[in-house]
């Protein structure tokens, strides 16, 4: 069998993972600095495809920590990348908890993501977990919900942390019981013990991954105030209606959340060579420019600017089609960070607007890898690279890094092969 570029790359990882790590880190950082690296960095994939390929279930991934390392190591070995964004295979959106403890910088970031064992303690209604509310082979899912009434904006604005901590958490997490009750106190002690276990496990897992040549950068967390309201308090539908029905309350609440989100983000100090603050955007593509410009972008922009000035780099996931709002990104300081675009209707148009200003990540539709052929994937990436090179500041990635279970292995290999073939500058 003829060896393909990916096979040679796997061999290099086996032979000298340290050299690979060094090379990949440098390649990635050059792209972040908007410079031309030796080759376009290629981002890793995972999701249901990882489970299918390695033979573990989402239940294992969520609750059976011992089964995770073997599966992740095999996967990362067989599908090498410059940035395996599998930093959270067993974690789910939970920024509201970091916010509830924003005044406790020693652990606010530790509980920024939800995991299955913590969900079992809190019984939170925001998420559903395999082997619990949903089947064992189902991906853990963030569902959100409505936990705040429209007339409660005043309380949120007055004291966001107190309101979230003492009113929202008890409503959304029946496992906590009454604030201050023995059940409440016991639940938090259990959460602490669980997070210590999970944290130690993750530390070890990432250490092992680095030894195998996987890049890792320190990450802290931020959020868009309007998404805090949509994801955790009022449900996205409620948030979109509130912007119109009670605009001044909604805006005041967004403004009030900014300083607390910054507290969470700055709890992890910026470290060289780069500490990224991760922000997944949710309501962005759903808003018309007028609402985006009033209730979404001003607060997000402020958060980004303050964190960049403090020495952090942004890593922002622009969900959906962000093209209608893409010009606003140019208001940020040049080189502020990485913008990952899920599915802009014209990816090259996004690139043309932002090149030289923002590191752009994306370019490959998930549907193409999931349901295309190796030839189509090769052709798509070849054409894309022809349009994007020779500028630096680009990272090749699918729109999201989660692939469906039935994704053909040959397609994932074709994606990495094409990056190695056509990405060289």
């Amino acid at each position: 069998m003829t060896k393909e570029p990916i096979d040679l790359w796997i061999e290099r990882h086996e032979k000298d993972p340290e050299a690979e790590l060094k090379e990949k880190t440098e390649r990635f950082l050059r792209a972040v600095q908007l410079k031309v690296p030796d080759r376009v960095p290629v981002a890793g994939v995972g999701g249901d495809f990882l489970c299918r390929y390695t033979g573990i279930t989402w239940y294992d991934m969520s609750y059976d920590l011992e089964k995770i390392p073997g599966a992740v190591f095999k996967f990362v070995h067989d599908f090498p990348s410059d940035w395996s964004i599998i930093f959270a295979p067993m974690l789910l959106e939970g920024f509201v908890f970091a916010l509830a403890f924003a005044d406790c910088p020693d652990f606010s970031n530790t509980i920024r993501f939800l995991c299955g064992p913590v969900h079992d303690i809190l019984k939170d209604k925001w998420s559903q977990w395999p082997g619990r509310e949903i089947k064992e082979n189902m991906h853990p899912q963030f569902r959100g919900g409505e936990f705040m009434k429209p007339e409660e904006y005043k309380r949120l604005i007055e004291d966001p942390l107190q309101f979230i901590h003492s009113t929202i958490l008890p409503r959304a997490c029946p496992g906590l019981g009454e604030p201050g009750s023995p059940r409440w106190n016991a639940a938090w002690i259990r959460v602490g013990m669980t997070m210590q276990r999970i944290g130690a496990f993750q530390g070890q897992l990432y250490g092992e991954l680095v030894k195998r040549g996987s890049t890792a950068f320190p990450i802290t967390n931020a959020y868009t105030p309007a998404d805090v309201i949509g994801d955790f308090l009022r449900h996205p539908t409620g948030a979109m209606l509130d912007m119109r029905r009670m605009p001044s309350d909604f805006k005041a609440a967004c403004d009030a959340l900014v300083e607390h989100i910054l507290k969470v983000a700055t709890a992890v100090p910026p470290m060289p060579p780069a500490t990224f603050f991760f922000v997944p955007l949710h309501l962005n593509e759903m808003l018309p420019p007028k609402l985006y410009g009033e209730f979404y972008w001003p607060q997000l922009k402020k958060i980004i600017e303050i964190l960049v000035a403090k020495g952090y780099k942004g890593f922002i996931f622009f969900e959906g089609d962000h093209l209608p709002h893409v010009d606003t990104i140019l208001e940020l300081p040049k080189g502020w960070g990485v913008a990952w675009f899920e599915r802009p209707r014209d990816f090259v148009a996004v690139w043309e607007k932002l090149k030289g200003h923002t590191t752009v990540m994306g370019g490959v539709p998930v549907s193409l890898i999931a349901s295309g052929t190796p030839e189509k994937i090769d052709e798509h990436i070849k054409n894309l690279m022809a349009k994007i090179k020779p500028e630096g500041g680009f990272i090749l990635s699918p729109g999201v890094n989660e692939l469906p279970a039935d994704t053909p292995v040959a397609n994932v290999r074709a994606y990495i092969n094409a990056a190695l073939k056509y990405g060289v500058y």
Binding site: Q128, H139, Q141, R244, R343, V366, S367, S371, E402, A405
Partner: protein
């Protein structure tokens, strides 16, 4: 006043649209004419969405307004025993493994406003439930919704199951959600795809027409 109502809906002016509806009902306007106005609004909303003038948040607001109008005229419709003409029957659900329903719910509201009779199977719907429901409700269109990438597999399995049950010729299938596109349509064997509810409604109206023509 009906023109004014149409404008208020399209301006997404909730207060004004509901107030006008109340006044129209009080002044004895035919509720079916108000429903025609709602249908015309739905059509125009779809066009504006396709032109990039409306966004999802606008559809959500429009959906609320249309729901509000329907609630106001419902008693009048019952009173007069009048029934609107049903343009087609839609069976919809979020496919197996996925519990997201924001998009699906917008489709349900807008499809009802456009004159569809809608059967909503909810979320995490396995292929066999779609098959049973097709047998039971005999819909014109089956809508498969999903947000997560895993929904791509579930959509394919659902279309396969409908095929295997010998029901494929009886229905038109549309898939919808943030991560579907032409590739996914081909892969799943659906008839149409959409990333948004507004375009979805317009496609479904065309599909119903095609289906009717095919039968006649």
């Amino acid at each position: 006043m009906l023109d004014e109502l149409l404008r208020a809906i399209l301006d997404l002016d909730e207060g004004k649209a509901l107030e006008l509806t109340k006044r129209l009902v009080e002044s004895g306007e035919d509720p079916l004419k108000i429903l025609d106005c709602v249908r015309a609004a739905t059509d125009e909303i779809g066009k504006r969405f396709e032109r990039g003038e409306y966004f999802v948040a606008d559809l959500v607001m429009a959906g609320e307004i249309l729901k509000g109008i329907s609630e106001i005229i419902a008693p009048k419709l019952r009173e007069t025993g009048k029934k609107r003409e049903v343009v087609g029957k839609l069976l919809i659900g979020t496919v197996e493994g996925d519990i997201h329903d924001i998009g699906k719910n917008i489709v349900v509201t807008m499809a009802e406003a456009a004159g569809f009779e809608v059967v909503d199977l909810g979320v995490d719907v396995p292929p066999e439930r779609f098959v049973e429901a097709i047998k039971q409700h005999n819909p014109d269109i089956v809508g498969l919704s999903g947000l997560l990438t895993l929904a791509i597999d579930s959509m394919k399995r659902t279309v396969d199951a409908i095929n295997a049950a010998g029901l494929r010729d009886k229905v038109k299938i549309i898939i919808g959600g943030g991560r579907v596109d032409e590739n996914v349509k081909e892969y799943t064997g659906a008839d149409a795809w959409t990333n948004d509810a507004a375009t979805g409604i317009r496609i479904m109206l065309k599909l119903v027409e095609e289906k009717r023509r095919g039968q006649s």
